[in-house]
Structure formats: C-alpha cells, structure tokens
C-alpha cells in the first residue's frame, strides 16, 4: 500500500437491503423500512441507514488493505439521504503511509452525484 493508491467499491442496494440491515443491526427506525411512514415525515421514500453506507466505506478500505484486521479507525460525516436501487460508489485514495507502518486513506460515498458520506478518513495497517 502506497500513497496515491486508489480505492473503489460499487454496490447497488436492492429494495430489501434496509430490512435485512435493520434486523442485522437492531436499528428499526421506520424511515428505513416503512415506505408510508417515510413519506409521512417528508422523505422521498425509505432511505438507507447511514451506518450501512459507512459499512460500505469500511469494506472498500479493508478490501483495499488486504483484510478486515487492517482497519484501525474510521471516521465519516453523513450528508443527505441514501436511496435504494441507486448505485453507491465509494472512492478514495491512500494519502500517506507513515513510518509506523500505518496508512491514511481519504474516502467518500456518492450516489447519483450526491455525496452521502464525505470526509471519511481511515487509518489502516499498510503491511
């Protein structure tokens, strides 16, 4: 892993991903699983869980670094609403490799031109 290495992951959330994620994570907020409720509170429809989107950023970082044990830390900012049935593109790059064997990567997640996760910073084990 060296500075400038690109990271990319593409995934299209199917209509039931939020239902499976609600069960897996324990987050049953109805804005993610109930179409009618979501519209009643002014959303265009059910939206992705922010932490599911963060998990895609984590997956992009660990796959690029060579495994789930390579991720030391991850911070993200959530923006906007992630939608079902629209491709999520996680992209970023390794910005620095440090003397202690760790690396810093900066990433974001974009859907139809809208950033749903920005300013993501991952610390990885480079070796």
């Amino acid at each position: 892993m060296k500075a400038g290495d690109a990271i990319e992951l593409k995934v299209t959330p199917d209509p039931y991903v939020t239902v499976r994620y609600a069960g897996a994570s324990g987050d049953f907020n109805p804005i993610h699983i109930d179409e009618e409720f979501a519209r009643q509170v002014g959303l265009p429809g059910r939206i992705l869980h922010g932490l599911w989107s963060m998990a895609q950023v984590a997956r992009a970082a660990t796959e690029a670094a060579g495994g789930p044990d390579k991720l030391i830390s991850l911070s993200v900012q959530f923006r906007g609403m992630g939608r079902l049935n629209e491709e999520v593109v996680v992209s970023g790059e390794v910005t620095e490799v440090h003397e202690d064997g760790t690396a810093t990567a900066k990433l974001e997640a974009v859907q139809s031109g809208h950033r749903i996760i920005r300013n993501a910073v991952a610390t990885l084990r480079a070796g």
């Binding site: 995934v11 991903v17 499976r20 994620y21 069960g23 897996a24 994570s25 324990g26 987050d27 509170v41 922010g50 932490l51 599911w52 963060m54 998990a55 895609q56 984590a58 997956r59 660990t62 495994g67 789930p68 044990d69 991720l71 030391i72 830390s73 991850l74 911070s75 993200v76 900012q77 959530f78």
Partner: protein, 149 residues
C-alpha cells in the same frame, strides 16, 4: 429552553452483548461482506481466530445498543423526530470473534448549539471478557429546530 449542558459527563451503566456466530454471519451478509473470515469457522481458525471474525463495523451491533437508553433519556430532552446522525468515528482494538462477551459503557461528552442545530456527542467504550478494548465509538447526533434560549 436551554440545552441540558449540566448532563455533559453523564455516564450509562455497562450493557453486555454476547457475540454469536450466526449474528456475525447475518450482519456480514447484510452489509455485503464476502470475506470467508466472517462466515467460515475453518477459514477463521486457519487465520488464527478462535471462531468467525466480526467485521469492524459490527461495532454498531454491540455498542449501538447503548444509543437507545441515551437518546430516550428524558434528562437529555431530545426530540427524536428531529434527530439526525451527523458523524461517526470508530477506533478498533482487539478483534471480536463469535463467543466473545462485549461490555459497553457510554458517556455524554458534548452538548452544544451550533447555529440552529443542537449537537449531542456520545462516546462508547467496549471491552471484551478479558478487559481488552475492542472499540471506542464517537456518535455525533444532531437535533434540528432547537431554540436555545
């Protein structure tokens, strides 16, 4: 109504989460993980783990359980309908595998207005059954439409 800034520093008692093999598989599948370490006991053992390995973001399962008691704490006066998840940070320590028992405590580290938004920041500290830190989480929740007067 002023923000309850006197609650900065409030702590919440530890909750213990028993990590199950099928729960790791269920979570890993729900987020699209394909690495055999999360699904295949033999692959995990061959890599030196005692059982299937939790993906790092599995922290939302064991540490996220602290969020409910905090967000619904009447002393914090949070309007749940106006709640947004603003940002999130995790710092990981020891690996989490099926069979672990993870104990998580929570503390309110910040309550502050920034413009029209109220920020409630929560820190979670999760340790395994040996007392080793497995994850520290920083959960930044934003409440819209708060009048701090």
């Amino acid at each position: 109504m002023p923000l309850p800034t006197d609650k900065i520093g409030k702590t919440y008692p530890a909750a213990v989460y028993a990590v199950g093999r099928e729960k790791i598989r269920e979570y890993a599948a729900a987020v699209g993980e394909t690495n055999p370490l999360h699904f295949d006991v033999e692959a995990a053992r061959a890599a030196g783990y005692s059982d299937v390995l939790a993906p790092p973001m599995f922290a939302v399962v064991y540490a996220g359980r602290m969020l409910g008691p905090v967000l619904f704490d009447p002393e914090l006066e949070i309007n749940f309908a106006m709640l947004l998840h603003g940002s999130q940070e995790f710092v990981w320590g020891r690996a989490v595998v099926a069979g672990d028992e993870i104990s998580t405590t929570a503390e309110i580290t910040e309550i502050a207005m920034r413009g029209e938004l109220a920020f409630y920041v929560l820190r979670t500290d999760s340790v395994n059954q040996r007392g080793e830190t497995v994850c520290t989480g920083t959960w930044t929740n934003i409440i819209r439409g708060v009048k701090d007067a």
